[in-house]
Subunit: 307 residues, 2 copies
């Protein structure tokens, strides 16, 4: 089954309590692509980059079955740049620099070669652009998943409300779910969001795992307790990539298979944070992933007769 992913490909400069990088590659669609390509090819990427984006990185992606027909290259401009510094708890960070550069002109379109895809992952982006992508599809995918952020809730809530009606699943963090609904209880927030359009909702809680909601069902996936979180950048996107990659691989969008997808996404995210940027996502093998998934099984597995 084929998968379209839309989002940023960028440069990041990251500072954590463990160290500091200069400009390294990043962006939501880059993390999604590296994670998803462990499960499904092709990953049909839609993004925009400047002439400064390293050609070796594009080659690396191509080598992993990531199609770049939908990645616009603006040779005389710079790629999107973000710089941030994490606090000691690694759950919060300050943005130091945001240079939109080419992203200011991003007007994503679907190449003909991508038409007919069965899965669509809409990375965090201006809601109007997310809607454009959906409306350009000649055939509705089996599953449309969208990410968004607080910035759009504050600046483009009208458009966001419209996009929500077109997607099957929203993926946000706990603070965003609360902000979107004004509900502190995540159970109440989930109900409110599912009344806005998406039939499925994933609420990401960082080191505390993730919740999957659908109708009256709920599933709680833990995060793996780690000795060190080296760099959380891209963990949420990697989670999304693992999730949608696994669903696209299996072609099964049942609630039970979504549970498996969340475990796969959590496993991929647990690799992502082990080194700066997408480094670990390029190193790991199928065996590493299988072992990590087994760790998740051991982590939550229990049997109990009723007491």
């Amino acid at each position: 089954m084929s998968l379209i992913t839309v989002g940023t490909m960028a440069f990041d400069a990251i500072e954590t309590p463990f160290g500091k990088t200069n400009q390294i590659v990043g962006g939501s669609a880059l993390y999604v692509a590296y994670a998803a390509s462990h499960f499904i090819q092709p990953v049909q990427q839609i993004s925009i980059i400047g002439g400064d984006f390293p050609s070796e990185e594009l080659d690396e992606l191509k080598g992993r079955g990531v199609h770049l027909d939908g990645v616009e290259i603006v040779s005389n401009k710079k790629s999107f740049f973000w710089s941030g510094k994490y606090h000691e708890d690694m759950n919060s960070r300050d943005t130091l620099v945001t240079d939109l550069n080419v992203l200011a002109d991003f007007d994503p379109h679907i190449p003909d070669s991508y038409q007919g895809a069965e899965f669509l992952m809409l990375g965090n982006l201006m809601p109007k652009l997310q809607l454009n992508v959906i409306q350009e599809l000649k055939q509705r995918p089996k599953l449309i998943v969208m990410d968004t952020m607080n910035f759009w809730m504050e600046s483009a809530m009208g458009d966001l409300t419209i996009v929500l009606k077109y997607v099957d699943m929203l993926m946000v963090n706990d603070a965003e779910a609360r902000q979107l609904t004004g509900q502190f209880s995540l159970v109440k927030a989930a109900k409110a969001i599912m009344e806005m359009g998406p039939k499925y909702l994933i609420i990401k809680k960082g080191e505390h795992g993730a919740l999957l909601f659908h109708a009256d069902e709920v599933f709680y996936a833990p995060a793996l307790p780690l000795e060190d979180v080296f760099d959380p950048t891209g963990a949420g996107d990697t989670f999304a990539g693992g999730f949608i990659g696994f669903l696209a691989k299996t072609g099964d969008i049942s609630f039970d298979n979504m549970k498996r997808g969340i475990i796969v996404g959590s496993a991929m995210a647990s690799f992502c944070v082990e080194k700066f940027g997408p480094t670990r996502l390029k190193e790991i093998t199928k065996e590493d992933i299988d072992n990590r998934i087994q760790q998740f099984k051991n982590l939550v597995n229990f049997d109990i007769e009723l007491v």
Copy 2:
């Protein structure tokens, strides 16, 4: 198997975003007793109360198989009183009043009739008193679990370090585990604590569930996502009571059975927060508990073939 519990029986006055109580019964040992007595009788209580503690509450406890031979009644003094106000997130609270009253004179001793107990739950208390209780036991219990808090880390760290060497399991929250060890990573904190004495460690994370550590093993029990947390007071003690009550009932202290115990404790805690004080713990039936445990199974259960 018999169980000794040591801790406070008190009056609380609680304010949450949902309402306010006048003086209602509370205290760590009271919650532990109500929770544990759903699984095991007798619960052999050690505590201290004033002449003002309601005799109906003592009758209620006795009716549930809670022995009170070890509860000292100081007729001419008042019971320990605590008053607190929860913030909107329900994870943090301000203490408004702490009147030690009889607690200032608490010098717990083990009645002869309690000797030979196989399980000991040491509620949060001055470490020196916890040690006294352990040293009065003629026969070492199969499992000694202790709770403690930041206050003792700041005021009685020397004594606390000694008690830790005598117990099998420490039960603390995430902030306390960090404070006790100076490690931010809970995995590192767990390792450090297990080097201080306890072979087992439970780290409680409130709405984010609980972690059980032993040697290189780790188990993650979720908390049930709830629409409303009405009053979190006593949830941690209720968790402890459900955990140790289930272990005492089954007599099995294997890691696998401790996993079950944590699920039982989490289920009991999820009832506790539904109403003010210990109200729900008195209302629920075996069927309610079984149903809630089934909800936990559904919440985390997944099957996955390696990918």
